[in-house]
């Protein structure tokens, strides 16, 4: 069921099992039949930890979505609320509890990921705190997504840290890393870049001191931890991802490992049936490395996906042809035993061919091409100091605001700020076209540094670009030799930093590091005697790269590429507060005053 978690270098299933164990223990605490009332946001992440079958085994008979008013009828002994510690949710819970007249039920709350005094206070004020038999917390910080990927799925982490100066998510990060260390051993080396990274590292070191004495005796699995602030590299997420997985996310959005696709392409074509009853429900697909084909193609540049798919198609049809060669009963038996696997491969191939077709329709469009051209101009430093005509046209044609914001921010980031005149022009255009309510959004973007007026006379982006080789003119999309293939030319800054850290080390780029915001640092954590790894010749080191504020699929692809490079000597495991793309990221920074209720 969770095979995709165990096939990586680090067995992340241990983490999942630990989380499941804790869940079971909590459920068993509430004796008798149960109904779970879900904070809707949590269902996705929870799905990665436990399916309904696990809950059912522990007498969970009903599940509801948390909403105001009365609870739906359910003949159960226990009602358990699974919620994030948010005040507004407490009010809803209070309403639910008040309207329950049966009096024979036990109520419980499970806070995810941590209980909060503030929320309990609110329950008390509402006069319902006494109604709860159990108020507990379910510490779910890092959720395993794939064999090499962990996410906290904290949607607003970037906004909270960089805009609102609320470091709650960093505290959870530090706690999550402590949990990880409890399961996988102390990580001896910590590197970091950025204010938040520093803060997390400080908290980790502090927590380690606090728990001194109760140290675990586990041989460390990770050699290094690299903490990276998202605001060290604001550029990468703004650019359109060009890997297969990245494009799926850009176009359709991947949430909690699932994507919803337009159903037309997936209609079952049966003979004799017209196309009249096309499915109307979107097609939902799970995407992870458990699917062999997907694992193979997801990190490829999209331009290389077609070739990979057709190669696969040949292999599969050849495999099916085998049956003609099977003569003896034994051979036929062997063929039949492989059938399920082959059929799965074939349907997987069909799915991905359909997805690739869908994406191709978009990537071959002029609009996509124009957009990409402008992005690449910015990244290479062409005309970044003037108002860009394409952006102007986009605004004039009322292109989606997020698209416009992505481009404007990108221009700003690539030129270390826009000239005041240019900035004001863009802002005016946006306000007049999309409405004045976006003033707050623009302010937010300015506060986080995504959008800013040029202050210093020097634009150091070109220096950074040259030193870190962020633009590779001849990116090879088919058989890549550098990470720049993920953006067809642009090598993500964050991943370059990671790459340089592994070899030759950050000392070689001190100058550039100083140009990027926030401090960079190195810390060592003492290991208990006897736990120092004796490395075998040629054995790879393992680095956990933690992106504070989000990471894109293209960056993940780039890191996977580095892991696979033969001479890198380094395996990467990726962790983040949230899997993002440019749009979801910019969206999280937007304010919508017009939609708030008076």
């Amino acid at each position: 069921m969770a095979a995709h978690l165990t096939n990586g270098r680090v067995n992340l299933n241990i983490l999942r099992e630990a989380a499941r164990k804790e869940l079971r223990e909590f459920l068993d605490k509430c004796a008798g039949t149960k109904a779970i009332v879900w904070d809707e946001y949590l269902t996705g992440p929870f799905g990665l930890i436990a399916q309904y079958s696990l809950l059912k085994e522990h007498e969970v008979e009903k599940m509801f979505t948390l909403k105001g008013g009365r609870l739906p009828p359910a003949d159960v002994k226990n009602i358990i609320f699974f919620v994030r510690p948010r005040l507004e949710l407490m009010d809803i819970i209070a309403e639910n509890v008040f309207s329950d007249k049966t009096n024979s039920r036990d109520f419980h709350i499970l806070f995810v990921p941590r209980r909060s005094m503030l929320c309990e206070q609110r329950l008390k004020e509402q006069g319902v705190q006494g109604s709860f038999t159990n108020i507990d917390e379910y510490i779910l910080d890092l959720i395993p997504y794939d064999g090499d990927l962990l996410s906290m799925e904290s949607e607003s982490a970037f906004r909270e840290c960089y805009l609102e100066n609320d470091q709650t998510s960093l505290y959870h990060t530090a706690k999550g890393l402590m949990t990880l260390q409890a399961l996988y051993g102390t990580i001896p080396q910590i590197y970091g870049k950025g204010e938040c990274a520093r803060h997390v590292a400080n908290m980790m070191l502090r927590m380690k001191r606090e728990f001194a004495g109760s140290q675990n005796q586990i041989l460390p699995v990770f050699d290094t931890l690299l903490l990276l602030d998202r605001n060290v590299d604001l550029l990468t997420p703004l650019a359109t991802q060009l890997t297969y997985e990245g494009l799926i996310d850009e176009i359709y959005g991947i949430t909690n490992g699932y994507v919803k696709l337009p159903p037309e392409k997936f209609a079952q074509k049966k003979q004799g049936e017209g196309s009249k009853d096309l499915p109307t429900e979107p097609k939902k697909l799970q995407l992870n490395s458990a699917e062999e084909l997907y694992a193979e193609i997801r990190d490829k540049n999209f331009n290389a996906v077609g070739a990979a798919l057709s190669k696969k198609a040949k292999i599969i049809s050849a495999a099916f042809e085998e049956r003609h060669n099977a003569k003896t009963v034994g051979e036929i038996k062997q063929f039949v035993s492989q059938l399920p696997h082959m059929q799965a491969a074939r349907s997987s191939l069909a799915n991905h061919t359909s997805i690739a077709e869908l994406i191709k329709d978009i990537t071959t469009s002029e609009a996509f091409f124009d957009n990409l051209t402008v992005e690449q101009e910015f990244m290479t430093g062409v005309d970044t100091d003037k108002v860009n005509t394409y952006i102007e046209d986009c605004i004039a044609q009322k292109a989606p605001l997020i698209k416009v914001l992505r481009l404007v921010c990108m221009q700003s980031v690539c030129s270390n700020g826009l000239k005041q005149k240019v900035l004001d022009f863009y802002k005016r255009e946006i306000l007049q076209t999309y409405g004045y309510e976006h003033m707050l959004t623009l302010n937010n973007l300015e506060k986080t540094g995504l959008l800013k007026p040029q202050t210093s006379s020097r634009n150091n982006y070109p220096t950074i670009r040259k030193t870190l080789k962020l633009w590779m003119e001849d990116a090879n999309e088919q058989t890549p030799n550098d990470i720049s293939y993920v953006y067809s030319g642009y090598a993500p800054l964050s991943i370059r930093l990671t790459q340089v850290l592994a070899r030759p080390g950050w000392r070689s780029i001190e100058e550039v590091l100083k140009m990027l915001p926030g401090p960079h640092f190195e810390e060592r954590q003492q290991l208990p005697a006897g736990l120092h790894k004796k490395r075998q010749q040629g054995e790879n080191r393992t680095t956990l790269v933690f992106f504070l504020g989000g990471v894109t699929y293209a960056e993940i692809a780039a890191l996977r590429f580095l892991s696979q490079m033969e001479d890198s000597g380094m395996e990467y495991i990726i962790a983040t507060t949230k899997l993002i793309n440019g749009s979801s990221w910019v969206k999280s920074l937007m304010d919508h005053p017009e939609t708030q209720c008076p």
Binding site: L87, E164, Y171, R206, A212, G213, A396, N443, Q596
Partner: protein
């Protein structure tokens, strides 16, 4: 060693022995007569006090606390009311149950800890009798009052009094009673003359034990075994009935022929033994009665107290302290006269070996022939654990070690384990420490508890030695002991704060995982706030410091510690505490000095208290944020006038913040709103709330060209945008003539490709073609392609010799019908390439 069986007495198939534990070092003037005596199980301390009824009212009795070896630990005059019972809790606290139902709790040093009451009604009716009992839930107390009511508390640390139902026909106190623990419930069994009753929470049931003879005899004494499994009843006819505590099975009945009621009756039973027995004590006689009809009788010279243990009974007399127990099976097998068990042979072999006699080999051979050498070693090791005499221990262990030499694959764990255990046991059994626990008890109570016991007695150095010797993880061992030491240290009066802090920090510096906050809270509890604050400085976990700091009203400090911890919920906790404690001004000032707390509080206000948010910005003169606040607030206003006035405030604040752009933009917004309102009123256009662009769009769509133009000029809309808007609107309405007119007017700032595109959007190729020629050369290929004129596109592309454009055209050609064109393009491409 030859006399090892000298003090063994047979009872049925088992043997009983009395092991001398200590010669008591106390000197008791009147012996144990007329005293309340409480001796805690597991070799615990002994408390003693003269019974008040034996003293003249003016004399205050002395309460004395001794170790099991009779070393005094504390003594003080009893100043409170008359005491009915003394008892010990599981954590070595002395419980003194007074006649009025108050229970006073003292620690081992005689320091008063706390008190609680067994109920209000008891003050009147008085406690007649009381019993302290232990169960998995902790230490409990049961009392019976003068009005024959039973009240129970199962755990004195979480006091919940339960009054049991009344017993029919009971006057005064029952003839005897006991507390039972059955099916996770605490019950009381009592005898009223010949009748037995079982009391539980809700009911009183009459019970009859099977086979009591003679019928109708009165029960005068009863005893429950250590594990609550067995029950013994003594009748006025001198019969001792034993059976299971659930009163369904009888074990035996013995006629003791002594009719006077016994002073004490205690079960004496080794775990797993099939032969439980009861020790019954009278003034001059101690009698052990088992299942068989045999008894052992020991004459008593002095008044004794019996203390029931897990695996025996301890007898405390004024002069000595003995352990009476069933001889453990392995000891019996090894030491029984003429025993031929492998262990006995091995012991003998080793003895001979030491004498350099070849008989050693003979014995060894005999064991080996039976293939029992492993068993022999096991027996010696196990027996060593059960022996109190160190010489015997040594002899057995040496024999085991000797036997081990002839075995290749024996796991040494048991041997090493017992050696370690014995080392610890011998250390704590030493008369100066006085904890005479057996190996069985030690295993049952665990090292952790033993260390706790040492710590309660303030034997910190020994406890630390034990931990270091057993290599207990520091966190559970040394650190815990040091913490306790520090807690006692801070309660010592006399030393100055600095001396204590220095002393504690130097001693604790090395130890990991020490909770300084715990120590500090102890200091605070004993009234030393300053000391507590100084100690808190050493606490590594900021989170732990906060609650205590708040308790001590150091909220500022608490706030900065909370921030240090990084735990935002903790920061919220302090903030909400401070908010309630201070006036608003001070509160804001406090926040101002703590930016992290301030931004968290802002977050909170954003969701919960918008008005406070405004005040916060106001006080900080944060005009920018204040302006943003007004902008956001303006959307909550329903009426246009109030909305405009809120926006005006935003403008003012933006101006103060020197944010010219935002001020202007907001003014623009207000202007737009007014315009929209005016037009809505005049024409019912439904514009309010639309963006400027959308407004102009709507105006153009409904033919209000003039008003749209007005907005275009008034808001200095960029030409490009307006052109786009206009030509799109014209195309939408299919006003092709107007469009053409428009194209011929001012030179288009957006070029002419958009004209082509809007026409094509309405699929009007004819109109679109009109504009293709006007398009700049750079876009001409695209324009041709847009109208589907591939040949034109090809021409334009070839003319421009652009590789990319030729390629684009090629991709639009269908290979079958346009072969010629394709060839032409290919050639052009080749030449372009060559360049």
């Amino acid at each position: 060693m030859a006399f090892i069986t000298a003090n063994w007495n047979p009872l049925g198939e088992a043997f009983y022995r009395k092991v001398e534990l200590y010669d008591m070092s106390w000197v008791l003037r009147d012996g144990l007569r007329d005293s309340l005596v409480a001796a805690a199980p597991y070799g615990g301390p002994i408390a003693m006090m003269k019974e008040s009824r034996c003293l003249s009212p003016s004399v205050r009795p002395q309460l004395e606390i001794y170790t099991a070896s009779g070393v005094i630990m504390a003594t003080f005059p009893w100043k409170s009311g008359p005491v009915v019972l003394l008892g010990w809790s599981v954590s070595d606290e002395l419980l003194c149950v007074q006649q009025d139902g108050t229970v006073l709790v003292y620690d081992l040093t005689g320091a008063f800890q706390r008190h609680f009451s067994m109920g209000q009604e008891v003050v009147q009716s008085h406690v007649m009798e009381a019993k302290v009992f232990h169960s998995p839930y902790g230490t409990g107390i049961a009392i019976v009052t003068g009005s024959s009511h039973f009240t129970l508390a199962t755990n004195i640390d979480e006091l919940k009094l339960r009054r049991l139902p009344e017993v029919p026909g009971l006057q005064g106190s029952p003839s005897c009673w006991a507390v039972l623990n059955q099916d996770r419930q605490t019950k009381v069994l009592l005898a009223n003359g010949p009748d037995l009753y079982l009391l539980d929470n809700t009911s009183c049931t009459a019970v009859v034990p099977p086979g009591v003879s003679p019928q109708g005899s009165v029960f005068v004494h009863m005893a429950v075994s250590f594990s609550y499994k067995y029950l013994a009843l003594f009748t006025d006819t001198g019969h001792l009935w034993t059976g299971h505590a659930h009163l369904q099975d009888k074990l035996s009945e013995v006629d003791t022929k002594i009719r006077s009621p016994p002073k004490q009756m205690v079960w004496c039973r080794r775990p797993k033994s099939q032969q439980p027995s009861v020790v019954v004590m009278w003034d001059r006689l101690l009698l052990v009665a088992g299942i068989c009809n045999d008894t052992i009788q020991y004459p008593l010279e002095e008044q004794c107290v019996c203390v029931g243990e897990l695996d025996g009974v301890r007898l405390v007399s004024p002069s000595r302290h003995e352990l009476l127990q069933e001889v453990p099976l392995v000891c019996e097998e090894i030491f029984k006269i003429a025993s031929m068990s492998p262990g006995a042979l091995l012991l003998e072999a080793h003895k001979e070996y030491q004498k350099s006699s070849q008989k050693a080999d003979e014995y060894l051979r005999e064991i080996k022939e039976q293939g029992m050498l492993g068993e022999a070693v096991r027996q010696c090791v196990e027996a060593a654990g059960h022996e109190h005499d160190t010489h015997t221990q040594k002899a057995l262990l040496r024999a085991a070690s000797f036997g081990k030499c002839f075995l290749t694959n024996l796991s040494p764990e048991a041997f090493v384990g017992v050696c370690r255990d014995l080392r610890v046991l011998n250390a704590v059994r030493d008369p100066s420490i006085g904890i005479p626990i057996t190996h069985t008890q030690y295993k049952q109570m665990t090292v952790q508890v033993l260390i706790d016991r040492l710590v309660y007695r303030r034997l910190h150095p020994l406890a630390i030695e034990v931990c270091r010797y057993l290599k207990t993880p520091e966190y559970q061992g040394v650190s815990r002991i040091l913490r306790h030491w520090a807690c006692t240290k801070v309660q010592q009066k006399g030393d100055s704060d600095d001396v204590i802090v220095r002393c504690i920090s130097s001693r604790l510096a090395e130890a990991p995982g020490i909770s300084y906050s715990h120590i500090a809270s102890k200091a605070y509890d004993s009234g030393r706030t300053e000391l507590a604050i100084k100690l808190l400085d050493y606490e590594a976990r900021s989170g732990e410091q906060v609650p205590l700091l708040l308790k001590m009203k150091r909220s500022q400090l608490a706030l900065s510690k909370a921030i240090e911890s990084g735990d935002t919920d903790l920061v919220y906790t302090v903030v909400s505490y401070v908010k309630n404690e201070m006036n608003r001004g001070d509160f804001f000032m406090t926040l101002r000095n703590q930016p992290v707390a301030l931004s968290l509080y802002r977050q909170f206000c954003k969701l919960q208290e918008q008005e406070t948010l405004k005040d916060l910005y106001n006080q900080d003169d944060d005009h920018q944020e204040l302006a943003n606040y007004y902008v956001s607030a303006s959307y909550r206003e329903k009426r246009l006038e109030s909305r405009l006035s809120v926006l005006q405030s935003a403008v003012d604040e933006y101006n103060k913040a020197k944010n010219e752009f935002s001020a202007k933009a907001t003014e623009e917004e207000m202007r737009l709103l007014r315009f929209q309102r005016k037009l809505d009123d005049e024409k019912g256009a439904g514009l309010l709330g639309l963006s400027l662009q959308a407004t102009m769009e709507a105006l153009l769509a409904s033919g209000l060209q003039k008003q749209a133009d007005h907005l275009y000029r008034d808001f200095r809309v960029s030409d490009k945008r307006y052109w786009w808007l206009k030509l799109r609107s014209l195309a939408e309405k299919e006003e092709w003539e107007e469009l053409e007119k428009f194209s011929k007017g001012k030179k288009s700032p957006v070029g002419y490709l958009p004209f082509v595109e809007v026409c094509m959007k309405r699929s009007n190729k004819y109109e679109a073609k009109k504009y293709v020629t006007k398009v700049t050369p750079e876009q001409r290929v695209r324009a041709h392609l847009a109208v589907g004129d591939v040949e034109g596109a090809a021409e334009a592309a070839i003319e421009r010799r652009s590789e990319a454009e030729i390629g684009a055209v090629i991709s639009h050609c269908s290979s079958s019908s346009q072969r010629l064109l394709l060839d032409k393009l290919q050639r052009a491409l080749a030449t372009a390439n060559r360049k």
